[in-house]
C-alpha cells in the first residue's frame, strides 16, 4: 500500500512556496471567519472552492484545509471574548471561556483554547495518517455490492444523525439523491431529469450547489434578521470595550500541563466522533465537556476553568483530521467540510473513492503533510493575531453580508464562466434558506448528492456481475448482509436515542 515514489512526489508537491503561503492565507482567513459569529468553516470553505480551482492541487488543499482548521479554532475567540460562539463547535467553550473573561483571565482562556486546539488537532492528525491507509486496505476488499450498502449506510447515518428530527434529516438526504439524478446517468451518460432545459444535461455542478446550500442561506438569514432588528451594529460596538485580551497574564506551561487529562479526553472523543459520519465538532465538544466534568468533578469545570476550555477546544479541533478518513478510505464524506474538500479534490481530477490511495497516493501524502504543518501555522497565526481576530469578531454585518453575497455570486460565475451556474446557485440558495427555516439540516443533502452517482454505478455493476439478479446483487455476500443489519441496528438505536432525548 505504501508507495515510496509517491512520497517523494508528495514532497515535491508540498515543498513549494505557494503551498505555504496559501496554507497561511487559509488559516488567517479561517480564524477570522471562525471568529465572526454567524460564519462557519463550511461557509468559508464553500466560498473558497472556486478560488481553489484556480490553484494547483497542493496549494488548493492548503487553502481549504487551512481555512477549516483555522475556523474551528477561531470560533473560540468570540466565545471566550464576548460569550458568543463564533461557530457552533465553540458553543460549549462559552461555559468556561466567557467566565474566565469575566474573572479577568480572558487572555489565559484564549491561549488555552489555542494550545488545546493545536494539541488535539495534531494528535488526531497523526491518528488519521496511520488509520486512513489501514481502513483503505479494508475498503479495497469491498465489491460493488458492499460499496453500495456502505454508501447507503453513510447516507442513512448522516441523515439520521443530522438533527433532532429523523424524518427531516432523511428528507434532506433524499433531496440530495434526487438532485444527483438530474442530468445524466453515471454509466451511459444518457440524459434524464433535465426538465427540458439543455443546460441541465451536464447535471447540477458542485460549486453552485455548495455555495447555494452552504453559503447563501446563512447570509440570507442574517440579512433578514438584520432588516428586522435595527441597532445591532451599535450594540456590537458597545461590547468591544469589554474585550478581554487587553489585560491579564498569559497562560503558563504549568497551567497548560495541568489540563492534560481534559486534553486527552477531548482528543480521544474528538477523534472518535470525527471519524463517524454525521456528527462533527459541536457534538464532540459537548460530549468531551460532559465527560471531563464527570471525570474530574473536583476541578469545578463550568465555573470558569481553563480545563473546561481545554476539553472543548481539543475535542472540536480533533475532529478535523479524522473527518477525512471516510472520504479518503471509502470516497464517502462524513461531514459538510469533508464533502467540500472532496469536491476540491474532484475539481483537480482526484475523485475520492476506495482506490484513492492507489490512484492518487502523492496527493493523499501531500494532504497528510498539509494537515500536520497546518497546525504549526495555526499556532503561529493564532498566537500573533488573537487580539486582531477578537476585533474582527465585531466586523459590521451590514458590510459583511453584501460582501459575502457578492463573492458567492462572482465566485460561482468565475469558476466556469457559465451564467446558468448563477441561476442554480440562486435556486439552491432559496432551497437552503427554506430548509434552514423549517429546521431541516442541509449537510445530508450535499453528502448524499456526492455519493449517489457512485452508489448507482456500484448497484449497476453488481447487477451486471450477477447477470441481472437483484437478490444476488443486493444480498449476495455475507459482508453486505452484515452492512444491512448495521443499517437497521443504527437506525433503530438512533430512533430510540431521539425518543429518549424527547422524554
Amino acid at each position: 500500500m505504501f508507495q515510496p515514489d509517491a512520497l517523494i512526489e508528495a514532497f515535491h508537491l508540498f515543498f513549494a512556496p505557494q503551498v505555504f503561503y496559501w496554507l497561511a492565507i487559509g488559516i488567517a482567513l479561517g480564524v477570522g471567519i471562525g471568529a465572526i459569529p454567524g460564519l462557519t468553516a463550511t461557509t468559508g470553505v464553500a466560498l473558497m472552492l472556486p478560488i481553489s480551482f484556480a490553484l494547483p492541487v497542493a496549494p488548493a488543499l492548503g487553502l481549504l484545509i487551512g481555512l477549516y482548521k483555522g475556523a474551528v479554532y477561531g470560533g473560540s475567540i468570540s466565545a471566550i471574548s464576548f460569550g458568543v460562539p463564533g461557530t457552533p463547535g465553540a458553543a460549549a467553550t462559552v461555559y468556561d471561556g466567557y467566565k474566565l473573561t469575566q474573572k479577568g483571565q480572558g487572555r489565559k482562556g484564549l491561549e488555552m483554547a489555542l494550545y488545546a486546539s493545536v494539541t488535539g488537532d495534531s494528535l488526531s492528525d497523526i491518528f488519521t495518517i496511520f488509520v486512513a491507509p489501514a481502513v483503505a486496505i479494508v475498503a479495497l476488499a469491498f465489491g460493488p455490492t458492499e460499496r453500495f450498502w456502505l454508501m447507503a449506510l453513510a447516507i442513512i447515518l448522516i441523515g439520521a444523525l443530522g438533527g433532532r428530527h429523523l424524518a427531516k434529516g432523511l428528507i434532506s438526504a433524499a433531496i440530495g439523491i434526487f438532485v444527483a439524478t438530474i442530468g445524466s446517468d453515471p454509466i451511459g451518460g444518457v440524459s434524464r431529469m433535465t426538465f427540458g432545459l439543455w443546460w441541465l444535461m451536464d447535471g447540477i455542478h458542485i460549486i453552485p450547489l455548495m455555495i447555494g446550500i452552504f453559503a447563501m442561506p446563512v447570509m440570507l438569514a442574517e440579512a433578514a434578521k438584520l432588516l428586522g432588528e435595527r441597532g445591532i451594529a451599535k450594540r456590537a460596538r458597545e461590547r468591544i470595550s469589554e474585550a478581554p485580551w487587553k489585560t491579564g497574564a498569559g497562560l503558563t506551561f504549568r497551567e497548560y500541563r495541568q489540563a492534560w487529562k481534559e486534553m486527552a479526553i477531548g482528543t480521544s472523543v474528538g477523534t472518535f466522533v470525527g471519524m463517524l459520519p454525521g456528527l462533527g465538532a459541536t457534538v464532540a465538544a459537548f460530549l468531551s465537556y460532559g465527560v471531563a466534568k464527570q471525570v474530574s468533578p473536583k476541578k469545578g469545570i463550568g465555573t470558569g476553568k481553563l480545563e473546561g476550555v481545554a476539553a472543548c477546544e481539543s475535542a472540536n479541533n480533533a475532529t478535523c483530521g479524522p473527518t477525512l478518513i471516510p472520504l479518503l478510505a471509502f470516497g464517502i464524506p462524513g461531514s459538510p467540510v469533508a464533502a467540500l474538500i472532496g469536491a476540491g479534490l474532484m475539481l483537480h481530477g482526484a475523485t475520492p473513492s476506495p482506490r484513492m490511495f492507489d490512484l492518487y497516493p502523492d496527493i493523499v501524502y501531500a494532504l497528510f503533510m498539509i494537515l500536520l504543518v497546518g497546525n504549526v501555522f495555526n499556532l503561529g497565526i493564532g498566537r500573533l493575531f488573537a487580539r486582531l481576530y477578537a476585533m474582527l469578531a465585531q466586523f459590521p454585518k451590514p458590510i459583511l453580508i453584501p460582501l459575502i453575497l457578492m463573492i458567492a455570486t462572482i465566485g460561482t460565475y468565475a469558476f466556469r464562466g457559465n451564467p446558468y451556474d448563477v441561476i442554480v446557485m440562486v435556486v439552491f440558495g432559496l432551497l437552503g434558506f427554506a430548509m434552514t427555516v423549517i429546521d431541516m439540516p442541509t449537510a445530508p443533502l450535499i453528502i448524499s448528492f456526492l455519493v449517489t452517482s457512485m452508489m448507482e454505478a456500484n448497484l449497476r455493476r453488481a447487477l451486471l456481475i450477477t447477470g441481472g439478479s437483484w437478490g444476488q446483487a443486493l444480498f449476495g455476500s455475507p459482508l453486505a448482509v452484515g452492512l444491512i443489519f448495521t443499517v437497521i441496528i443504527l437506525v433503530f438505536f438512533t430512533v430510540q436515542y431521539l425518543k429518549k432525548g424527547e422524554q
Partner: protein, 162 residues
C-alpha cells in the same frame, strides 16, 4: 383563522404540502417516456429518479404523521412575509447584479450594488458606505485577477491591466 395560519407552519403542514407536490411530480415522472428507457446494461433510466421521489414521499408522509407533527419550527414561526420577501429580493438582486455586471463590468457596477444593501442593512453614514463598497470591490477584483479568474470587464474592456 389565526389558528389555521399557525397550523400551516407545523411539521404536519410541511409534510402535507411536500407530499402533494411529490405525488404530482411522481405522476409526471411516470408519464415521461424516458423513465422506461432500458439502458445497455438492462437498467431503467428512470429507476433512481423514481426511487428518490418515492423515498421523499414516504419520508414526507412520516413527517406528516410522526410524533413531531405538531411542532412548529422556531424560525418559521418568526419568519414574516416581509422578511421572506426581502430574502427573495436579495436573491433576485444577486441574479440582477450578475446580469448587469456581465454587460457593464464588475468594477463599475459592483460598488453601486454593494452600496445599497450596506445602507439598507444599517450602516447609515454615506461616506462609510461608499468607502466600504469601493475598497471591497477593488480588493476582490485584485484577488480574482491575481488568481487568473476573469471577471467581466464590460465597458472597461481594453482599459484594465488584467
Amino acid at each position: 383563522m389565526y389558528n389555521f395560519r399557525e397550523r400551516l407552519k407545523s411539521n404536519q403542514a410541511i409534510g402535507v404540502i411536500l407530499s402533494l407536490v411529490l405525488i404530482a411530480f411522481l405522476i409526471q415522472l411516470f408519464l415521461s417516456p424516458w423513465v422506461y428507457r432500458k439502458l445497455a446494461d438492462g437498467f431503467h433510466l428512470g429507476f433512481f429518479p423514481i426511487l428518490s421521489v418515492v423515498l421523499l414521499l414516504l419520508l414526507s408522509l412520516i413527517l406528516t404523521f410522526d410524533s413531531h407533527r405538531k411542532e412548529k419550527p422556531a424560525d418559521l414561526m418568526t419568519l414574516t412575509f416581509k422578511s421572506f420577501l426581502s430574502v427573495v429580493l436579495i436573491l433576485g438582486g444577486c441574479w440582477f447584479y450578475f446580469m448587469v455586471m456581465s454587460k457593464i463590468g464588475f468594477l463599475i457596477i459592483t460598488p453601486i450594488f454593494l452600496l445599497l444593501p450596506i445602507y439598507a442593512l444599517g450602516l447609515k453614514s454615506w461616506w462609510k458606505c461608499i468607502t466600504g463598497a469601493v475598497v471591497m470591490t477593488v480588493i476582490v477584483y485584485a484577488i480574482f485577477s491575481l488568481l487568473g479568474l476573469k471577471l467581466p470587464p464590460g465597458i472597461l474592456s481594453g482599459i484594465l491591466p488584467f
